[in-house]
Symmetry: C2
Subunit: 334 residues, 2 copies
């Protein structure tokens, strides 16, 4: 059974006002009244109705998280999964519950869903279209973007500093002595992939590497299968072209491609080095373990929630654009 505060009050011999004061913990109540109410609460295992509370408080203590992504996997995506884990942990710490939704149609509907449920704030993850942001903007709902792309100066967003990461990768590989570079890059309409490639390219340029020593293959998707397919397709060009290193704009592409290399008995890193980007869990587990650029997803998730909490409390937010600098994890594949 489920009880309401009126029943609790009458069983404790007080008015609902007094019961409310005891249970919510603000307002006066005599020690005797308090004790009686708490006893009834304990005995009946009374759970206050958060829906009714939300109604009057005009706050649900729920935040909405929407992950926009065309293809599966979404939650089980190695990077977004980590991000969601961090968000859940941080949200819990601040007393929020999380309404999670995935959206593969990139529509406005998922945002409307959250709006109707009156979440206190909204975190939008990954590739979302401009119209979704514009839609959400119309309501005075605190929201922010993680790992998406926008040129809108109003939108608060958290992104990894992909350009810097790409440049760091270039410098690191150049420092190892590599001179001819092969790149498999994910979809360029996706901000991260674009900037990682751009950073890598410019990094090489600054190091004096001529454009002719850089081969770039674009991939329509950024998963294992495409990485493997493209490596297989360009295998001769890679080996025959005296390229000594493969850089990819995420780990999935790198692992897919590296598998093809290993299958064809190319020794990694002796004959060909491989470097990815993201530091997904399996990068370290692979044989050989993948050298990569680490994005601190955990901190991004925590910061996203902390920032959203500031927005919800109408506190000042220091900067709209929050970049997370990336670091190189040297492992066995280079």
């Amino acid at each position: 059974m489920t009880y309401n505060i009126k029943e609790i009050a009458s069983l404790a011999g007080v008015s609902k006002s007094t019961a409310s004061r005891v249970i919510s913990g603000n307002g006066y109540a005599s020690p005797e009244a308090r004790a009686r109410v708490l006893e009834v609460v304990e005995q009946l295992q009374y759970k206050p109705n958060a829906v009714a509370r939300a109604m009057v408080a005009k706050r649900t203590n729920n935040i909405g998280v929407i992950v926009f992504r065309e293809q599966q996997p979404i939650v089980s995506h190695p990077l977004y999964g980590k991000l969601i884990d961090a968000i859940l942990e941080a949200a819990e710490g601040l007393g929020y519950s999380v309404l999670l939704k995935t959206d593969r149609e990139m529509s406005v509907r998922s945002a409307d869903h959250m709006l109707e449920r009156r979440v206190d704030g909204l975190i939008l993850i990954s590739r979302l279209r401009k119209n979704v942001v514009d839609h959400v903007k119309k309501y005075n709902l605190p929201y922010l973007m993680v790992n998406g792309s926008t040129d809108d100066p109003d939108v608060i967003h958290l992104v990894s500093n992909d350009e810097e990461g790409g440049a760091k990768a270039a410098a690191y590989l150049h420092g190892l002595g590599h001179r001819r570079f092969f790149v498999i890059a994910g979809p360029q309409e996706h901000r991260s992939h674009h900037l990682r490639l751009e950073g890598f390219r410019q990094g090489l340029q600054r190091l004096g590497v001529p454009a002719s020593d850089l081969a770039i293959v674009l991939s329509p998707e950024s998963n294992l299968e495409q990485g493997a397919r493209l490596m297989a397709e360009h295998f001769e060009a890679f080996i025959g072209g005296d390229y000594t290193v493969l850089f990819t704009t995420n780990d999935m592409l790198a692992l897919g491609a590296m598998k093809v290399l290993l299958q064809r008995s190319v020794r990694v890193p002796e004959q060909a080095a491989v470097m990815g980007f993201d530091d997904i869990d399996f990068a370290a587990a692979y044989a050989p373990a993948l050298t990569t650029v680490k994005v601190d997803t955990n901190r991004m998730g925590h910061d996203a929630v902390a920032l959203l909490d500031r927005l919800i409390h109408q506190e000042e937010v220091l900067s709209k654009k929050n970049e997370f600098s990336s670091e190189i994890l040297i492992r066995e594949s280079t």
Copy 2:
């Protein structure tokens, strides 16, 4: 801004009752009234307050999902991530939103949280203690368990048929000609790991393999690191003992152990075959791709939501225990 139905009604020149009828779509309304209300709704982008709706309907259209797990990762766990993806998709299809929570303290608090928010139903995932189930049971809240263990005949639960899977693995490996078997098994207090090992052991027994040809090493955790550590620790015993195959009770242990074998130049599968359990995404991506026992996590997630929906609608549920049979995926490691 956010409006309420009274404002919509007065702008449309009707009573809130009429507006409600138009918006919710049940009850009479003249074509003219309907048109005027819908126009105002459209123009003001009115979003009905789901909190208020939930209040009167005594239904939130939210379901709660709690994942119990002591260690990180939780959502980014390769198996649970897939499960959650499936649950989200199925829930969306039935008009539910999902409140997701992770619980590392295995306490009753996370369930209380869901109870307070008045979710329509609850899905409990993984290792949960008996007291949590007993606690939830006290409320007339529809709930079910996925991938947990219980001896309580009342509890509706969905599990993979781990014993059958273990036996299938034994039969398959025996059929390949293997005669001496090495096993790394996860924590035996976890139902899955226990049954997988039991099934494997009994399967071998039925095939006439003497117990002396089966070596079992128990792992305190079921992750990559432990798989690698234990393989390294028992490397001499494994190689020197003429074992030709390693079976583990999940893929993480297998991949961790396989990495050590590859590092020590053991050729897989020629010198030693490796077989896991679960079919996580990276099992297929590894070089060599891991042969494993596939658990249909996607179907489990969908079925869990469908079943919960039946419970919520007080429809009859056919059986308390729902087992999902597993199938062997033969890849490169055997």
